[in-house]
């Protein structure tokens, strides 16, 4: 079905198709291109009528000055630490649990899997208040631990890995067992190498979600010491309201890790978003 697609008729000439898709692409791209252009301009240019679509001069100092207007190096470091930690814990726990659910049967399995499914359906907003109270009672407010631990495992990740690992033939695991491999060796030497690409997709999605997360840091963070990039951006925008060009410049820098990850892994990211029906 995917090989040769249907041509709907001679009316859908390639030119018309490209014209219409190009229009949609333009609508998506123009705000981004405008942002890149504005980040190198001045505040006056940004508000000029008629709209100036092309830069007249390049102000790279918007970037250098914007990035020191707030302790952004701390924010970037915090965001990286949190995102990397959450990605590691999520990938490890999801791989282990996915394998356990896919390849073992034990009493209580369906109950435990139901817990995974339900936690995948519960929106964060529905539990943020008790989570705040819980984290407060552990003394984790305003700490990176408080940012990392509650989001360290995701139901989505476990579900995704379980779905994938169910597709690995039992015969492969059985063969390794006959060769004397321990259960952990079967997991480590046979299953994990096969799951590498879906683990990479999960890692990418988890990193993106953590890097972009705003609401939980907004609740946990109380000082610039533990602030992450999205919070820092919001604070920059709140305190320096009319310094548009620098705010845009720093926003674009904040998007760089996301863009890099997307360029490398866009195919996996798009398919995992789509097949799951669950968005980061």
């Amino acid at each position: 079905m995917r090989g040769r697609r249907v041509r709907l008729g001679r009316w859908t000439t390639p030119v018309a198709v490209h014209l219409m898709l190009g229009l949609a692409a333009l609508a998506v791209a123009v705000p981004l291109l405008w942002a890149v252009k504005s980040s190198l301009g001045t505040n006056a240019e940004l508000q000029a009528t008629p709209v100036q679509w092309l830069p007249t001069s390049l102000h790279f100092e918007n970037y250098t000055e914007g990035l020191v207007a707030q302790p952004f190096s701390t924010y970037f470091l915090n965001s990286f630490i949190v995102a990397v930690a959450v990605t590691i814990t999520t990938v490890v726990a999801s791989a282990l649990a996915g394998y356990g659910f896919a390849k073992f049967s034990f009493p209580g399995r369906s109950l435990l899997f139901a817990i995974v499914i339900v936690s995948l359906m519960i929106p964060f907003q529905a539990i943020m208040i008790p989570l705040f109270i819980q984290v407060r009672s552990y003394g984790w407010l305003d700490s990176l631990v408080g940012l990392i631990i509650p989001g360290a495992v995701s139901g989505f990740g476990v579900f995704l890995m379980r779905q994938f690992m169910r597709g690995i033939p039992d015969a492969l695991c059985e063969a390794a067992r006959i060769d004397g491999a321990s259960e952990f060796q079967v997991f480590w030497r046979v299953v994990l190498p096969l799951a590498r690409s879906s683990l990479a997709a999960l890692a990418a999605l988890t990193f993106l979600a953590s890097w972009n997360n705003f609401l939980w840091p907004l609740i946990v963070v109380q000082s610039t010491r533990t602030m992450t990039v999205p919070l820092g951006l919001a604070q920059f925008q709140g305190t320096d309201l009319t310094n548009y060009v620098e705010i845009i410049a720093v926003s674009l820098v904040a998007a760089i890790p996301v863009v890099a990850l997307y360029v490398v892994m866009q195919r996996q990211i798009i398919t995992s978003f789509a097949t799951s029906g669950v968005k980061g």
């Binding site: 009316w11 539990i127 259960e183 999205p230 705010i247 968005k279």
Partner: protein
Amino acid sequence: MTVAFSNTRASDAAADTVVRRRPWIPRLTPARRRSLVGLMFVLPGVAPLCLFVIYPAFNSLWLSLTDWDLSAPPQFQGIQNYLDLAANQQFLHSVLTTAEFAVGVAIPSAVLAFVVAVLLDAGVRFTAWYLPLLFFPAVLPSVVSAILWGIMYQGNGVVNNALGTRIGWLTDPTWALPSLIILLVWTNLGYYSVIMLAGVRGVPREYYEAARTDGAGWFQLIRHITLPLVRPALLFILVIATADSLTMFVYPYLLTRGGPGDATRMLSELIYETAFSFTNIGKAAAMAIVLLVAALSIAAVQFRLLRSSHE
């Protein structure tokens, strides 16, 4: 890890020697042992979910039955918060706004995504690069999108300057919600298109060929074959838009603070403000439970749709 699993070798002989060497480990039948190993594998995933998702969900339920300002001990007061919500104009208005936002996003998104999907599926060459571009805003940090669009939407911003208007996109009560809707459609168009594309590609090719030999034109093909067959995908987009609307926080919080007035105060933002600005924990928790019930119902529909589309 390795230590924990060292007594679970498949070979009985090996396992027996391990057990004999460490007599405090009870002797297990191979089936029991495998069960235990399976349990050990799922525990690192399931235990944190119980502690940081399931337990808080029940905690939300308990908090919703109390009156609490975070300092004095919570006072149990039964279903009072729910009774109050049923008469709370701001809450009811925010439920309505959330629904309006969902429908407002779903309808243009479904139309646009359908058009994009049909065009991408038309078999024209060099169209593969459109989707990654259209999808890109969905991976941008929502704070970044909010900041960019906030600046574009300003009174003397680029949107007004390009259109030659002077509309207060985010400050005018009639325009604030539509402006946020446009922003979310921009964010999610590629995502919705991917879902729609899966639906459009699922239409069997023979249907088109049969209809074409009967003399149907492209419009008739789309109207009578594609459209009816992608109805599940259309419904799916409505469901996802509703879920997105229920959890919509960053855009109203950063761009309008729920205003002007309550014009863009959607449920998630109202819960946040009630809990963390007004420290009315019980009332906010009751709203969170309403949100939870709505989200679980939507997820149930979503799962059913996914299952039927996979069959």
